[in-house]
């Protein structure tokens, strides 16, 4: 026999197509193993963090060794400079061994853009990346990049879990029209064969667009004694800042909205004794940490909280579709953000479990108390759309988890999130409806959240939700998610005051200048205050809102604005004697839910609100001022002068308080990260 004959015969064997389910199962199993291995790797992390290694610091902060940093300018074109920074050799203290010299891309983040990109731009980036990928491959010569390590802190898990670098990343420093450098990373679009899902990543890449925000300027009380603005309970900016700092770079200036940073935290302001008013402003005046000659006027508002006794315990199971079709930005990424928001609105005592269905069907998170929020958020973060929807026991699993943690007096709910693929383990829609309504009688309700377009099965969703005693909602944006998940579905949050506006009139006898920190995008005209047609922010139950003014007393010689040469101070209306001791007069306007005309709360701000020393001021005020300082330093605002990150850490540490959810501790860590990034000259 001849070789060729044997080959021909062997090759004539018909090979049946592998079953699609088997393939999905295999890929799912491999991915599960992949996660297990990644977890293991993470646990084995010892020694210095990735960032510290880059910085040449060991845990104690001293330099390990001095190493050359070569900065190569990759190209300069039309005000666009691409920098590739390589550091070598890199010493890794991990397990006391040297790693071969290798190229480390400082900006080697693979994140994808969250904003749509024009096809031509995609093409350009891809070809550029392909080139750089080749280049990097050459550089590597057989050595492989060490896994990207983060400090083991829990907060890191929340946002920065396994953000993985394809080698092909370039950092571009763009110089915009004003000559201000803003940073942009070109995103590595992952290579895809036809039919392969585009990858999703949550991480900041610097292509995000922000409106230019200039910090509020110093106002002269004699010229503009009244300051009016709408409250803002958004906190997006904080999450964004956190994300970029965790990724090792400073956020772009315009991404930092100081008031959102401040309002990210929950402050323990006193509640009104009388329930007829939904909230009570708490005002403190104390010396400015960053300027001995000025004072901070701190206004804190806490919305009426339903007392814990009234708030039923929530036992939630998220049943999440992670099939390939959930890949696009308006699906899984939005879903994750939505659930993150929901988790953030829950109480420490509530429990959350996560079940996914798709290739990797199964329980991602056993019922976990919200006090371990980091764990929940990390599990959410790890979700990836992959594989086709392989069904599995998704819905059964979700219900049995919900039943296992059943609280007869609480909210027991499965929240199904999908783009319309109801392949949850029960295929017949009618059987599914039956199942859901049977379970409803057992006390577990079902809410259905729809995401995305193209595959959306509205009718079935509605039917299921009705059968499950729940609601069906379509989530197209984070705002909608907030409305549905935080304000409505959780049943624990509802607005207690709408269109809340703040107006402050300063007393020219006491205050020469003032400056509102943050709220740049929320400024209102003086006449808008009483105009009920003008929209403003809402306060939900338990929400806190904080506003901080930096004021310069008339007695201070640190006034930034000189007196007018030709001005006539004598002409100013003299302040009535009884009011001379007041710094300002605060008015808060709000509408009760369902009402169309506004009510007003008024209070004078005087010496009674004042603390002579920073250390004497309430911890909540001090912490807020630390956050304000941090935001301003990040923005590069000039008012904070020599106050630096270390000062902020000191201030925040002293005001950390109980910190039940670890947010304040996380904040302190973020300051450290910012310090590191700033030291690297990175923005």
């Amino acid at each position: 026999m001849k070789n060729d004959d044997l080959k021909k015969i062997l090759n004539s064997l018909p090979i049946p197509e592998p079953a699609k389910e088997a393939k999905d199962k295999a890929i799912g199993a491999a991915l599960a193993e992949f996660h297990r291995q990644s977890e293991k790797k993470k646990k084995n992390v010892k020694g210095s963090s990735w960032m510290e290694r880059l910085m040449g610091k060991n845990r104690k902060g001293g330099p390990i060794m001095t190493r050359p940093i070569a900065i190569a300018t990759a190209g300069i074109a039309a005000g666009c400079i691409a920098l590739a920074i390589t550091l070598s050799p890199v010493f890794v203290s991990e397990k006391s061994r040297f790693v071969k010299p290798r190229a480390v891309q400082v900006a080697d983040r693979p994140e994808l853009d969250e904003t749509p990109r024009s096809p031509s731009a995609v093409g350009n980036i891809e070809s550029e990346l392909k080139d750089s990928a080749k280049e990097i491959k050459k550089e590597k010569v057989g050595s492989r990049p060490a896994p990207l390590l983060h400090p083991n802190d829990e907060f890191i898990l929340e946002e920065a879990v396994v953000h993985t670098p394809p080698p092909a990343m370039r950092r571009e420093v763009k110089v915009n029209g004003r000559g201000m450098p803003t940073m942009a990373l070109s995103a590595a679009k992952f290579p895809m064969e036809p039919g392969v899902r585009p990858p999703v990543d949550q991480t900041y890449v610097g292509r995000d667009k922000f409106d230019t925000v200039n910090a509020n300027t110093v106002k002269l009380v004699s010229e503009a004694p009244v300051s009016t603005f709408s409250i803002d309970v958004d906190t997006a900016s904080y999450a964004f800042v956190r994300r970029s700092l965790n990724n090792g770079h400073l956020p772009p200036k315009n991404a930092v909205r100081v008031e959102e940073l401040i309002n990210y935290f929950d402050y323990d302001y006193p509640l009104p004794e009388d329930r007829s008013v939904p909230f009570k402003p708490t005002v403190t005046v104390f010396p400015t940490p960053w300027n001995p000659d000025t004072k901070l006027l701190h206004i804190g508002i806490k919305g009426f909280d339903i007392t814990p006794a009234q708030k039923p315990k929530s036992n939630l199971v998220f049943l999440i579709d992670v099939s390939g079709s959930m890949q696009s930005q308006d699906k899984l990424p939005l879903l994750k953000n939505s659930f993150r928001m929901l988790v953030n609105s829950l109480e420490a005592d509530d429990t959350v479990a996560i079940v996914v269905y798709a290739g990797a069907a199964g329980t991602v998170l056993e019922p976990t108390k919200v006090s371990e929020k980091g764990k929940i958020l990390a599990a959410l973060d790890r979700l990836r759309a992959g594989g086709s929807t392989a069904g599995g026991e998704g819905i059964n699993m979700a219900y049995s988890l919900a039943e296992s943690g059943m609280d007869p007096d609480g909210i027991n709910r499965v929240i199904l999130a999908t783009d319309g693929d109801f392949n949850v383990g029960i295929h017949d829609p009618e059987v599914l409806e039956d199942f859901v309504s049977r379970k409803r009688k057992s006390g577990v309700y079902l809410s259905v959240l729809g995401f995305g377009q193209g595959n959306y099965n509205d009718a079935l969703m509605q039917k299921l939700a009705q059968n499950g005693n729940g609601n069906a909602a379509y989530i197209d944006s984070l705002n909608e998610a907030r409305k549905v998940l935080v304000d409505e579905a959780s049943g624990t949050m509802f607005n207690i005051a709408n269109d809340v506006k703040i107006q402050i009139e300063f007393n020219p006898a006491m205050v020469a200048e003032y400056r509102l920190i943050g709220y740049e995008t929320r400024m209102l005209n003086r006449e808008d205050f009483k105009n009920d047609a003008v929209d403003a922010g809402d306060i939900g139950s338990g929400h806190t809102v904080t506003a901080i003014y930096e004021i310069t007393p008339t007695s201070s010689n640190a006034k930034l604005i000189d007196d007018l040469r030709y001005g006539d101070r004598e002409k100013a209306t003299p302040v009535k004697r009884s009011k001379t001791a007041e710094y300002a007069y605060l008015k808060v306007r709000y509408k009760l839910p369902g009402e169309s005309s506004s009510r007003e709360i008024e209070t004078p701000i005087d010496k009674r609100n004042e603390y002579a020393k920073i250390s004497a001021a309430p911890a909540e005020s001090r912490f807020a001022s630390a956050v304000a300082a941090f935001g301003q330093i990040l923005r590069g605002d000039s008012y904070v002068r020599e106050f630096d990150y270390d000062d902020v850490v000191g201030l925040a540490r002293g005001a950390k308080g109980d910190d039940p959810f670890g947010y304040r501790g996380e904040f302190i860590n973020l300051i450290r990260l910012a310090e590191t990034s700033a030291a690297m000259g990175d923005r």
Binding site: K7, A22, I27, A29, E126, A146, P166, P191
Partner: protein, 184 residues
């Protein structure tokens, strides 16, 4: 679209890039499956072997060095996994029953002649020692040259040549059907 090399995908996977990893698995699924199927000729078993291969691969991905090509490495894992699987399940199943996989089994007359011959030869290969079967599989069925097969199986080229020689001799002896086919 960019086509990353296997090595690039491995590197990315090792630094935690799940998408790169998934891409790597998808890319090679069919290769692994085909070889596994040729080894056992039962679709379900081949699927199981393939799954096992990728789990093993995931565990070992960290230790993969670019000394050998990724493909070589993958073939090695597949052959080893298939051998183990065969051994484990030898008591349960015999691969002679492989026809059961084919729906036209009840009516062999409908099978194309070369397909019948192929099954006969593969059945004959099942009776070979694993090492010989593997060598013949890689060279004759997968179209590798002796050098590549030697890399996969971790032996010298001459060993491969010898194993193939032995294998062919035995098949010739065992497989009358095949000889008949050859005469035609």
């Amino acid at each position: 679209m960019i086509d990353y090399t296997d090595m690039e995908l491995v590197d990315m996977s090792n630094s935690g890039n799940e998408h790169a990893f998934e891409n790597l698995v998808e890319r090679h699924y069919l290769t692994v499956y085909s070889l596994s199927y040729k080894w056992c000729r039962i679709r379900e078993d081949a699927e199981e072997i393939t799954q096992e291969v990728f789990i093993k691969l995931t565990r070992k991905l960290n230790s993969f060095t670019s000394k050998s090509s990724f493909r070589t490495w993958l073939y090695r894992i597949t052959i080893n996994t298939a051998k183990d699987y065969h051994r484990k399940n030898a008591t349960r199943r015999t691969y002679e029953s492989a026809f059961a996989d084919d729906q036209s089994h009840n009516n062999p007359g409908n099978l194309p002649l070369d397909s019948i011959a192929a099954r006969q030869v593969y059945a004959a290969m099942d009776k070979l020692p694993d090492k010989q079967k593997a060598a013949l599989m890689l060279v004759a069925a997968e179209g590798m040259n002796h050098r590549e097969a030697a890399d996969v199986l971790g032996c010298s080229e001459t060993t491969i040549s010898w194993r193939i020689h032995q294998a062919r001799k035995k098949i010739k002896k065992t497989c009358n059907g095949w000889q008949d086919y050859e005469k035609r």
